[in-house]
Amino acid sequence: MVDFAGWRMPVQYASIVEEHLATRLAAGIFDVSHMGRLTIGGTAAVGWLESLLTRKVAGIDVGRVRYTLITSDAGGQPVVLDDALVSRDADAADGTERLALVVNASNRDRVVAWLTSCLPAAGVTFADRTLETAMIAVQGPLAIQIVGSLCTPADASRIAGLGNYRATSAVVAGHVAAVSRTGYTGEDGVELVVDAAAATPVWEAIHAAGAPLGLRACGLGARDTLRLEAGMPLYGHELREDSDPSAIGLDLAVNLEGRSFPGAGHYGGLRKHPAGRVRVGLTFDSKRSAREGDAVMQGNRQVGVVTSGSFAPTLGTAVAMAMVDRDVASPGTPVEGVIRDSRQPAVVTPLPFYQRDKRRA
């Protein structure tokens, strides 16, 4: 167990490699209740978020989920406060729109403080529901089947029919859950938000239904190796306050046309005039990886720095993500990672390292 942004969480239940492979081959269940869950409502809710998020929110349909950045210009210089998922839930009884944000545990306090400071005098209600709710991710090729087995046929069929980055509401193991076809593993799967009191029974029901099929409980360690193979950035590592989203490959998360979110001009300028290091994948010729902060070298020249690195269980070799100079960013470029006193050869590799076979049902 480790302290993670104030939450006591397991790095692993048994073995990171076994949990990782179970998620790739069958399913993994992850307690991601540490993620911040914020709700936004009121007649001005959509317009308010549209003015704050890098991703377009105006016109978002009920049941849509979008990956966005949350930026702030409170200190003069625009900064990336967090990356998040924004979704539109079913409308409130009075017909007003309801939206939700899922933010990183490590950034929750400051995101809540920033959004609160931006609240208009009227028209928006904003609540941090993290402690009243729990979040469970079920990921892997059997995830939809396992969760569906705990639902009515109608709910199971609706979940199975959900597109990626779509959300619905369903009753899972007898408890109402917000269900979204999202995740952080590179696998198919869902993330469920339930009332805190339902967390244990829903977890136990999914675990009991899935274990005979190979589902394993997965800790933070496997969550990190899975997202690394899937080439997904992690705030505080690939993505930082001073990041240029374009350089990290996150242009799709930043809609610039006609937008005025904090720092829109700044980020527009960065996109027009690319400069600085870019995010790449590195594949090592060993099981030993450079880790965050390790230098990337080409000869005597430091060409970059590792942002995340690990043995990749699916690939059987070590991989890393790094920010490197643009002239060494082409796939196939040979570099070296400095691991303590030694140098480990690596080659620049397109991201993601791992992509599931989407033809698989």
Binding site: M1, Q12, S15, I16, T225, K287, R288, R291, F311
Partner: protein, 128 residues
Amino acid sequence: MAADLKFAKTHEWVRPEADGVLTVGVSSYAVEALTDLVFMQLPAVGRKVKAGESFGEIESVKAVSDLYAPVSGEIVEVNAALPGKLETLGKDPYGEGWVVRIKADNPAEMDGLLDRAAYDSLVGSQPH
């Protein structure tokens, strides 16, 4: 477990051999706590180490850990087959999974190490 083993607080075990050389390995507690081992770096034979000095590294998926010399002396032999067969550390940590042999400068340094009961009580009180 053989009762003649001594342990460092840093999870290395030590066994005096008949020829006076000390065999050093990694405790089963440490191997289990690390899990998912991917890499091990051994020192060169002939290297002199001081007690508490790092003489090698063991890397798991989750972290890199140093191996520390339990006593001062000279590395006189290394288990060169081990880095290619890291599973041996889990299967037989006190036998085939030995790591190095050290010729101690001062065998009395052994007295500063923990006996089995003291080591067990140390790790028994540590969270995994």
